[in-house]
């Protein structure tokens, strides 16, 4: 650690530093690359030995994935659950974030504690008692039921993220709009909303990713309507290698795109919101 940051003597220091950066980038990228090689190779190649480190550009594995019974339904379920989670957590979470940033009210500290408390609990475990509760109310094995659990995972983040986003917009802007004849609602719509929309989108995408990636609760709560993660997990023992890799690939690609889309907000969301 010391070597990488010591500029003395300058040239070697910079060289070591550059090498360390490249090495750490490779540490992240090479495993991903190897997954892509496997996904873009024919099923026979994936199961053969020794392996080439270059992809064949064959869509055989992906085609097998698409034809595998139940896989496309699982993919659709994943999208539906994640979409629903995204909408629910923003609709429920953003108003609270606004309240935290704009008002001082009795009970504010308690409310913040409740939100922060959710972080200290292994939330996927919630799925165990909810599985029973859902059977009673008819929510078992449904997209909505799972989306509600995933919303529990995502909504504390939505609250804290929107809290830090709203705090970044000066109250004076809103007050100016009020003096110009806007009501609280119309001032919010015309002044705050346009400014906050990119940030809200970013935190919505983040909620989507949380749900998209969740395995345990999905596996506990769905039986017929499996999500992609639950489906892959269930078939880990029996499915052929090329199916696993294609499935992993399909799981990873949206994540890559989403992290790229929200990269500017990552620090506002994770760093500051976590303080």
């Amino acid at each position: 650690m010391a070597v990488a940051t010591r500029p003395d003597p300058r040239r070697t220091g910079r060289l070591v530093y550059g090498a360390a950066v490249v090495l750490l980038c490779a540490w992240v990228l090479v495993p991903l690359y190897l997954l892509f090689v496997n996904t873009l190779s024919a099923p026979e190649t994936v199961n053969s030995f020794p392996k080439s480190f270059l992809p064949e550009m064959d869509t055989g594995s992906l085609a097998f994935f698409a034809r595998f019974a139940g896989m496309l339904d699982a993919l659709w379920n994943s999208v539906a659950v994640a979409g629903l989670t995204m909408i629910l957590s923003i609709v429920i979470g953003a108003p609270a974030g606004y309240a935290l940033s704009r008002f001082d009210f009795p009970g504010k500290a308690t409310f913040r504690l409740l939100i922060l408390l959710t972080r200290a609990f292994p939330l996927p475990l919630l799925a165990l008692p909810l599985a029973v509760m859902y059977i009673r109310v008819g929510l078992d094995d449904t997209v909505l039921g799972l989306a509600l659990v995933h919303t529990t995972l995502a909504v504390p983040f939505a609250v804290l993220i929107t809290f830090s986003l709203f705090s970044g917009i000066p109250l004076e802007l809103e007050e100016a709009a009020w003096t110009l004849g806007c009501t609280r609602l119309s001032a919010f719509r015309k002044v705050v909303l346009p400014l906050i929309l990119p940030g809200i989108t970013a935190s919505a995408i983040f909620a989507f990713v949380i749900s998209w990636n969740e395995v345990f609760a999905a596996a506990v709560l769905t039986i017929e309507n499996r999500t992609l993660t639950a489906f892959l997990l269930q078939n880990l023992d029996t499915s052929p290698l090329h199916l696993k890799f294609a499935g992993g690939f399909i799981l990873v690609v949206p994540a890559l795109v989403f992290i790229f889309a929200v990269r500017r907000y990552l620090f506002a969301m994770w760093g500051i919101a976590n303080r």
Partner: protein, 281 residues
């Protein structure tokens, strides 16, 4: 609308939601764990603790956390300080380093499976170098050390980014004047890191460690993808009790054990890394 009431109206939906889907289920799970055959008892815990796999999965979970979290902390600190002094290319490097943040534990397990499985890339490489004649089945009961290593690498690969992001944001909050003053007095970069960055980063370190340690006790899908039944962990046992043994009481009991360990460690981390009042920036 009345301004006094407005904040309560705004926080009402999320409060109700968390009561129904967070507070209530935890009451249920506790109830389920402590009740057997309709009476208050510790039977569920006795059954769980008495099973030969329990000590093993507890040990595995703790061992994995102990092996993974310190490495991640060191790596995240290194990466965060490197990013901090980076000029050109900072955004690109940060994007690459935070990619695993969006990758699920199951996908991470599958990615490392591609490397460690019998016809995988590690075997291919060793074969190409002439070190082995036939592919070795690394992820089998003959190689428990390698199974552990694979799971460890996958966890480090996947979940360092979450600490990195928190630490980068935390370092960004440290006033530059401290560093300038230290430089005037001739402090080396290493000294500056030890005397300024580390102490002032304590709140972020706290958050990062709490989050990471709790997630480490929840480890499940990575292990399922790489170790299968070779490496039982607590969360996996919960799943087994719930589904294969259809024993909800026992599943709830293990859930409470995981919860207890998580809370215990959270309190320890908060205590050890506490920031004295008046020392906050």
């Amino acid at each position: 609308m009345n301004t006094r009431l407005l904040p309560y109206v705004l926080i009402l939906p999320v409060t109700l939601f968390l009561c129904v889907f967070f507070v209530y289920p935890f009451i249920l799970v506790a109830q389920e764990a402590f009740v057997a055959d309709g009476a208050l008892s510790l039977d569920n815990f006795r059954r769980v603790f008495g099973h030969w796999k329990f000590p093993l999965s507890l040990r595995n979970t703790l061992l994995l956390a102990a092996a993974v979290v310190p490495v991640q902390l060191g790596l995240a600190l290194l990466m965060a300080t490197m990013v901090n002094r980076m000029g050109r290319g900072r955004d690109l490097v940060l994007y690459i380093w935070t990619i695993p943040l969006g990758i699920s534990d199951l996908a991470a397990g599958i990615i490392w499976l591609a490397i460690f499985e019998q016809s995988g890339f590690l075997n291919s490489m060793l074969h190409g170098l002439g070190l082995i004649d036939r592919p070795v089945n690394f992820l089998s009961y003959q190689h428990p050390g390698i199974v552990f290593l694979a799971i460890m690498l996958a966890e480090i690969w996947r979940a360092t980014a979450i600490m990195l992001v928190i630490l980068v944001a935390g370092i960004g909050l440290i006033p530059k004047e401290y560093y300038e003053a230290a430089e005037v007095f001739g402090a080396t970069p290493w000294k500056r890191f030890l005397r300024i960055t580390l102490p002032l980063l304590r709140p972020s370190l706290q958050t990062a460690l709490v989050l990471r340690v709790i997630l480490a006790f929840e480890v499940f899908a990575v292990v399922a993808a790489l170790g299968g039944t070779l490496f039982p962990v607590l969360m996996g046992q919960t799943f087994v009790y719930q589904f294969e043994l259809l024993d909800r009481g026992a599943a709830a009991a293990i859930a409470l054990v995981i919860l207890g360990i998580s809370i215990g460690f959270t309190l320890v981390i908060l205590r050890v890394l506490r920031v004295p009042k008046g020392a906050r920036i």
